[in-house]
């Protein structure tokens, strides 16, 4: 993992920043999110992909691309979480004074 991180750290950083931006926006965004059912299905899909990556059943380049995608997705989620939490913190700090 350390090797992969050093190899394409730029893309990983991009994923984190993208996630951070998306998380930052999502706190104040109006409108509906994805349905609970769809979220469940998507979680199951991601879990299946993680299982496939961990068991190394996908061979060659596809296996590598799967690993790469999952790592980028994981970092994207981390970025989203941090962005959302930070935005929420900023919003909640400024609300009482307003």
């Amino acid at each position: 993992m350390a090797y992969l991180t050093t190899f394409y750290w730029g893309w990983l950083l991009g994923s984190v920043l993208l996630g951070f931006a998306m998380g930052w926006i999502s706190v104040v965004q109006r409108g509906d999110g994805i349905s609970r059912k769809l979220r469940w299905w998507l979680s199951a899909l991601v879990a299946a992909l993680i299982a496939a990556a961990l068991t190394r059943v996908v061979p060659g380049r596809f296996g590598y691309w799967l690993d790469l995608g999952l790592i980028m997705f994981a970092l994207y989620l981390c970025g989203c979480a941090v962005g959302s939490w930070l935005r929420d913190w900023v919003v909640s700090r400024s609300a009482p004074s307003a």
């Binding site: 893309w11 999110g33 190394r56 060659g60 590598y64 980028m72 959302s84 929420d88």
Partner: protein, 464 residues
């Protein structure tokens, strides 16, 4: 936490650019990553001995195909690649090199090249054998037809290197190492080469043995060429040692009284038994030819050339091989030199005087037995006598002053008679010869020195 769960339902739009990022990252990073992993895998296998190694990388999966020389080496190679950072999976396509049973290695030499074939245990040993072959056989093409195989006996490389040294001593032939048995065949390059190889084989590593050594020695050749134009006798070829060498050159000096002896002989071991006595006797026969070549090859004596008269030719043909030791062969190719033009009495006398001035007819000490070394001179005297068939010749015997005068007188007569008998036996009419003995009464040199005495002990031919 609840908020995070709620917000996460709105994170999905970012997945679209994320997928684009992912596609670009996959597109740009795959090949550099594969190249880097291939390079790292090769570096990880640097110290592992493998043959036919092929490394291919797909994504982070490395396919390793190679022939290993031991199970331990094979597993170590796979583990080394598995340990390369970034490698996800190793597709193990390694196998052990086949085991050769029996483990056969050979070196074969022909006129232009040396071919190494059979099995070699490791690439490094194979390389060392090729290098050693090139170094030992400077200039000779070395062809590598060796395969790699397991199952070599311990210290195979030492044995093979020693055998490669021996291939340099062969003119042609083959050396085969089958497990620990060594077989040799072919022809040694030089005389003594066979013996040198046999001696070197004693240094084979422990456990190795010589199953068959059929290396043949090259023919043992001695040649003598009598050149009547250059007036030389050229000796070439081999003689067994210094003593025989000196003896042969001395014998040639005695038998060839007018020719200069050119000595190009080389001392080499491997002469057949009886070599010296056969060559001395064959040189005696060659000295009786006007021109001729003597070739002694192993136990075969070939003498070709022109005898000075018919009787000499018959004597040489019939007489030479008779005294040879067992298993020696004599192949004479003797013809008779065409008779020279007749000359008158004066020229005849001049020719006799000239011949007897160069050499003397020699006898056993105190006896009237002509020594064999004088055969060449006598043939020339006979040839001269044949050129003046109408003349009568007095054969005059002389002695030195040693001993009793009457005894010397008798000895000189007997010696003159022995010469006359020799000439008559050679086919000349007895009526042409008269015999006279003068004892020591007509010296031509001072009898005070051995040299002077030797000059006085003589036979003169006087044309009448």
């Amino acid at each position: 936490m609840h908020g995070l769960f709620r917000w996460s339902s709105k994170w999905w739009p970012g997945v679209i650019p994320l997928v684009m990022f992912w596609a670009i990252a996959a597109w740009t990073s795959t090949e550099p990553l594969e190249a880097d992993l291939a390079q790292r895998s090769v570096a990880a296998l640097k110290d592992t001995v493998l043959d036919k190694r092929r490394i291919s990388v797909a994504g982070r999966d490395v396919t390793l195909a190679a022939d290993a020389f031991s199970e331990g080496g094979r597993q170590s190679a796979v583990t080394s690649v598995e340990g390369v950072p970034g490698v996800r999976l190793v597709n193990d396509e390694t196998r052990l090199v086949p085991e050769a049973k029996p483990f056969v290695w050979s070196a074969e030499r022909d006129v232009v090249r040396v071919t190494l074939s059979g099995s070699s245990p490791l690439p490094a040993i194979k390389g060392r054998l090729m290098e050693a072959a090139r170094a030992n056989l400077g200039g000779v093409e070395v062809v590598d037809r060796m395969n790699l195989a397991r199952g070599a006996p311990p210290r195979f490389d030492h044995a093979a290197l020693l055998l490669l040294d021996q291939i340099g001593k062969l003119k042609d032939g083959k050396i085969t190492l089958s497990d620990t048995s060594v077989s040799l065949s072919g022809m040694a390059r030089e005389l003594g080469g066979r013996e040198a190889i046999a001696a070197a084989l004693k240094n084979l590593p422990e456990g190795f043995s010589v199953a068959a050594n059929d290396v043949k020695a090259p023919p043992y050749i001695f040649q003598a060429y009598k050149d009547p134009v250059a007036v030389t006798l050229t000796l070439t070829g081999n003689v067994p040692d210094k003593t025989v060498h000196a003896a042969l050159v001395a014998a040639a000096g005695r038998k060839f009284f007018s020719e200069k002896v050119v000595d190009n002989l080389k001392e080499s071991i491997g002469a057949p038994p009886g070599f010296a006595e056969v060559v001395v006797s064959a040189l005696g026969a060659l000295s009786r030819l006007s021109t001729g070549t003597l070739v002694v090859t192993d136990r075969e004596v070939k003498l070709s050339g022109d005898a000075l008269h018919e009787n000499a030719a018959s004597e040489i043909r019939a007489g030479l091989g008779k005294d040879f030791p067992q298993r020696w062969q004599f192949k004479p190719e003797i013809s008779v030199k065409p008779a020279a033009a007749p000359v008158d009495a004066t020229v005849c006398q001049q020719l006799f005087t000239e011949l007897l001035g160069k050499a003397r007819i020699r006898f056993e000490p105190g006896k009237a037995d002509i020594v064999a070394d004088s055969a060449g001179l006598l043939d020339r005297l006979i040839e001269t006598a044949l050129r003046c068939p109408t003349t009568n010749i007095e054969i005059a015997g002389h002695t030195d002053s040693d001993g009793d005068g009457e005894a010397n007188q008798a000895l000189s007569e007997k010696r003159a008679q022995a010469v006359a008998d020799y000439l008559v036996k050679a086919g000349l009419p007895a009526s042409r010869f008269s015999v006279a003995g003068y004892g020591s009464t007509q010296p031509i040199a001072n009898n005070d020195s051995e040299q002077g005495k030797a000059q006085n002990r003589r036979i003169d031919f006087v044309v009448k």
